[in-house]
């Protein structure tokens, strides 16, 4: 008997309302491919696995559906949404729009302290790659982008970008860190950083655009390598 134990992070370790915790737990599981694209989510199973009733999971699933992570088939089932190259392109477009606007703004109005934080972050990235600690590098990478958006002064930019980039974040899990790519990534980050240092908005935007556009080409092969995760049409 394959007991098929899908591991959900225990909601005890999270804060906020029950529904909020269930949402975080499910979201994490989906992003980590614990529930692969196409797999069905059963409310009852989740209820007893987390030890809660159907109300909070219903709310959590509603939020996930609103964000496009799951597809709810009315009166029938709810399954983790499959990838589609179109959605990925769209998410990429949205992300580019937001992050380019952010970096343009930051390049214009940055403070010295903000520049220092970004510089420190890039140095950290370099150290982590030297140490081959790719997991931590990934986190530092995300933090770099997060810092830039935070420095616009608009806290919502970061969260909106995170929401529209969810699909990207998920599909990115399929990419193993190719040897050499982190070094390239850091170079691109440095180019962005330099433009921010020089307070050159146009250069910053161009550097960010070039950086973000590196992703799609690396994603393209996945459609055939992992066809099972992609929507058939």
């Amino acid at each position: 008997m394959s007991e098929d134990i899908k591991m959900l992070t225990d909601i005890e370790s999270l804060s906020g309302s029950l529904a909020q915790r269930v949402y975080q737990s499910l979201r994490e599981a989906i992003l980590a491919m614990v529930y692969p694209p196409g797999s069905v989510l059963k409310k009852n199973v989740i209820c007893e696995q987390l030890g809660v009733s159907r109300s909070p999971v219903a709310e959590a699933i509603a939020r996930l559906a609103a964000e496009g992570l799951v597809d709810v088939i009315p009166q029938s089932a709810t399954r983790v949404s499959c990838f589609s190259m179109e959605e990925i392109r769209e998410a990429s477009f949205l992300r580019e729009a937001l992050e380019c606007a952010a970096v343009e703004t930051v390049a214009m109005q940055r403070s010295d302290e903000q520049l220092a934080k970004l510089t420190r972050n890039v140095r950290l990235q370099e150290m982590l790659v030297e140490d081959r600690d790719y997991a931590e590098f990934y986190k530092a990478d995300e933090e770099f982008h997060g810092l830039i958006m935070e420095f616009t002064g608009f806290p919502g930019v970061s969260s909106v970008a995170a929401t529209v980039s969810l699909q990207l974040k998920r599909v990115r899990m399929l990419l193993l860190p190719e040897e050499g790519r982190p070094a390239e990534t850091i170079k691109e980050h440095r180019a962005i950083l330099d433009a921010i240092r020089d307070q050159d908005p146009a250069a910053a935007q161009a550097a960010m655009k070039a950086h973000l556009r590196m992703l799609i080409p690396r994603l393209l092969p996945l459609e055939k390598e992992h066809a099972e995760y992609f929507r058939s049409r």
Copy 2:
């Protein structure tokens, strides 16, 4: 006795799940200032007004909260969110980022048919202003922006923009159409259209940016004129 009859659009006239219809009804009421900012939403009242139980309204309110239209105070109350100039600036930033990216893309890759549709729309705007039909003009204005985003080929751009612009849409209701402004608006739309016709992405983006930045200055006086709708801090 002030019976305080808040009119909600009847959910019978809408389609989709019950929760979806309740959401649309509430959303419309909030945007139309039927529920002014700061007013409290009572689940029981809404339930009996719409003739539904608490489940669908709970889901609807959860969505409204996620979009920032209402603030839920845990275990206590849920009230329509007040305006804050910071949030308005943020929404404006996000909208600018998305619409500028969209118009840039469309200027690069437009089809002749798309150009024709946009041209027709601007002509319609001109006719409507001549006829002083400002309500229809408002709709045509929104359609103009919607068309541009639609023409990117990414259907989600329009809906994401609509979501992040919700606060803008609501606060805009306080603006009476000043005499002369529609004519200016059309000039700006024409400038955008011309750049799209000429397939000049940079000009298109610049024209869009100039156009969108007309809004904030007109909104600034509202913070004192309608202080009751704004968050005190």
